[in-house]
């Protein structure tokens, strides 16, 4: 056979079309980028465990596949029927299928309207598959995206290596242990067996407008007189008060005592916290005299305790049947006074053009200036606890700190350059006066000055 004949034969083979029956279609890509996520919806405060599919990266086969599908009327990226999520082993053998309760295209379009489908051109870049089935830590998940609702034609899949580390699903643990020489309520000791039990369900009712939760932390002993025996069962409800501003409140009821209920009480708590909108202060509290870029953080807590039974021993005295406390508090940690840089001997003035974004951000916050302050204020109002004069008890408390960057001191800035040179706010002097009360020790009051040098993270 001549070279020309061999060439002709090869050309003929190359140009001969394959029979239809053996036509090769490329296998669907198995590199769908997915991440596990756990977040809290607002204002319901219901926790969500989801798989985020990242489909908006231009230049990837996944993007091109989605781009082709967005115009098809019989395909909708927001419909759960086109997805399957399974638990697999390391060889991708399917162990069980998970329930996808919702598909959420994430984001708003340019008209501020939430996406209800994939628009194309990378919008949305993330689609969340909300999981409705229990997933255990360490289990591997694989996601399949189909061309049809019958799930016959696979479009894309993930690689099956996704693991969920945190989730919103109920947890239960029980850990037995032996406790030699455990103290009993009658003053004696003996070796007992103990079982630590913990239960938590952070979302009792799915898709509820409020978050209902329950938890329990117990220690059950083989001896009912075990002083460590404890049962605490809590149920609660929480939600954001304002729908467009983070403002959570909670109402919680706890039943606590020991396992024989000789010691039994209920604790009812109600709390609220929120940062106030602050941008309106940008001229009043962000100038050459005072710089307070972030708002103070107010909170308010109520706690009512009703003691049903009390086990009185030598170590545990009789307490009042009912206790109530109202505790409003305020914390403000980012206050500074830029004028002090010029007023005092300090010459440090932020550069006109900061070297980096973080330097620019720091230059306009407390940490870059010469004198800073922190403030904490609060009040314990105890209407069921009367003073010697017969009035209802109220205990105010608070502390104030003056903060001076170590680099402000000429000795430090010259002799201790290793702690002041690269980041002048890395170390600071704190002078603090505190007038505090200890709620755990019958609101005992202490007043003290402290002085220290602290390193900042």
């Amino acid at each position: 056979m001549t070279i020309k004949q061999i060439y002709s034969l090869l050309m003929a083979l190359a140009l001969t079309p394959l029979p239809v029956g053996v036509a090769q279609t490329p296998a669907p890509p198995t590199n769908l980028p997915v991440t596990a996520t756990s977040y809290v919806q607002y204002p319901s405060l219901n926790p969500v465990t989801a798989i985020s599919m990242h489909i908006g990266t231009f230049g990837t086969p996944i993007y091109d596949i989605i781009q082709k599908k967005v115009d098809e009327t019989n395909w909708n990226c927001a419909s759960p029927e086109f997805y399957k999520v399974v638990v697999v082993d390391s060889s991708l053998k399917v162990l069980r299928q998970l329930n996808v309760t919702a598909v959420r295209p994430i984001g708003n379009d340019p008209n501020h309207v939430r996406y209800t489908r994939c628009e194309g051109h990378g919008h949305p870049a993330i689609v969340d598959l909300v999981l409705g089935s229990q997933v255990n830590s360490g289990e591997l998940l694989q996601v399949f995206v189909y061309d049809d609702t019958k799930q016959n034609n696979l479009l894309i899949s993930s690689d099956g290596k996704l693991a969920v580390t945190t989730s919103s699903f109920p947890t239960f643990t029980a850990a037995p242990q032996a406790a030699p020489g455990e103290a009993l309520n009658n003053g004696t000791t003996r070796t007992v067996g103990q079982l630590n039990v913990a239960f938590s369900d952070t979302n009792l009712i799915q898709n509820s407008p409020v978050n209902l939760y329950a938890k329990s932390t117990d220690l059950i002993s083989t001896d009912g007189k075990d002083s460590k025996s404890a049962v605490a069962v809590t149920g609660g409800i929480q939600r954001g008060l304002f729908s467009k501003w983070y403002s959570p409140f909670h109402f919680e009821q706890t039943l606590q005592g020991n396992q024989t209920a000789q010691n039994l009480s209920t604790v009812t708590s109600l709390g609220f916290a929120s940062d106030p909108p602050w941008l309106w202060t940008k001229h009043v509290l962000n100038n050459g005299f005072i710089l307070a870029p972030l708002p103070p953080e107010p909170s308010i807590a109520n706690e009512y305790t009703h003691r049903i039974y009390q086990l009185v021993t030598k170590k545990t005295p009789m307490l009042s049947e009912n206790d109530y406390s109202l505790n409003p508090a305020l914390s403000w940690s980012t206050i500074s006074f830029p004028f002090t840089c010029r007023l005092l001997f300090w010459e440090k003035v932020p550069p006109k053009k900061p070297a980096s974004a973080d330097a620019a951000a720091a230059a306009s916050t407390q940490t870059s200036t010469c004198l800073g302050a922190e403030l904490n204020l609060g009040l314990w109002y105890l209407p069921l606890d009367l003073t010697k004069a017969g009035s209802k008890r109220a205990e105010g408390y608070g502390d104030i700190s003056i903060l001076i960057p170590l680099s402000d001191f000429s000795v430090a800035s010259k002799e201790l350059t290793y702690v002041t040179a690269k980041d002048p706010t890395k170390f600071q002097v704190r002078i603090k006066y505190a007038d505090s009360v200890n709620a755990a020790n019958n609101y005992a009051r202490t007043k003290q000055w402290t002085f220290g040098i602290e390193a900042l993270k």
């Binding site: 977040y39 628009e119 990378g122 900061p354």
Partner: protein
């Protein structure tokens, strides 16, 4: 056809960036220019958990990115890094450039377009009419502080390099400057 035009897609990214800036509820951050803000480390200006949760709630309301977790604020480090995960700037730029590229490249898949040369996409280099249109669209969609004349000169040099791929050009523009 997609409902969001290529130019709207680019504008949306910077609208989102402004929404993130407003959501910080921090008067110092509100005074930063867009480029500085984009490259600021999130937790330095939102140090407490309450400030971070307030930020996430406001971002969810204004942008619709309501599945951001507190851990993401550390994972993605800067505001640009965070936003790029939910709305990649590189995609917005690439979509815009493809819509303005030479006609045969407009119908390409995104993977092929990224592998195409800048010369093929914009014949005539930086002096050609196609790139002039593209540059005008970029300037129209990107705030001046994020697309300075110096940065444009750097981009122009890249456009004039014959072997440059579109992926390289898009990566360079996405950095902003």
């Amino acid at each position: 056809m997609p409902d969001i035009s290529p130019s709207d897609g680019l504008t949306l990214w910077f609208t989102n960036l402004g929404q993130l800036q407003a959501a910080c509820n921090n008067t110092s951050v509100s005074k930063l220019d867009k480029l500085t803000f984009a490259n600021t480390t999130i937790v330095t200006v939102l140090p407490t958990t309450m400030e971070q949760k307030t930020f996430l709630t406001s971002v969810g309301v204004s942008t619709g990115y309501d599945d951001i977790a507190i851990a993401d604020l550390t994972t993605y480090k800067t505001f640009k890094g965070l936003l790029d995960n939910w709305n990649p700037l590189a995609t917005a730029i690439a979509v815009l450039l493809q819509s303005l590229a030479a006609t045969p490249l407009q119908e390409m898949s995104s993977t092929d377009f990224m592998n195409a040369t800048v010369t093929a996409a914009f014949p005539g280099g930086s002096a050609g009419p196609a790139w002039s249109d593209a540059l005008a669209s970029l300037k129209s969609g990107i705030p001046p502080k994020c697309f300075t004349s110096g940065f444009q000169t750097t981009i122009k040099t890249t456009v004039d390099k014959a072997a440059t791929k579109m992926s390289d050009l898009i990566s360079q523009i996405s950095v902003l400057g």
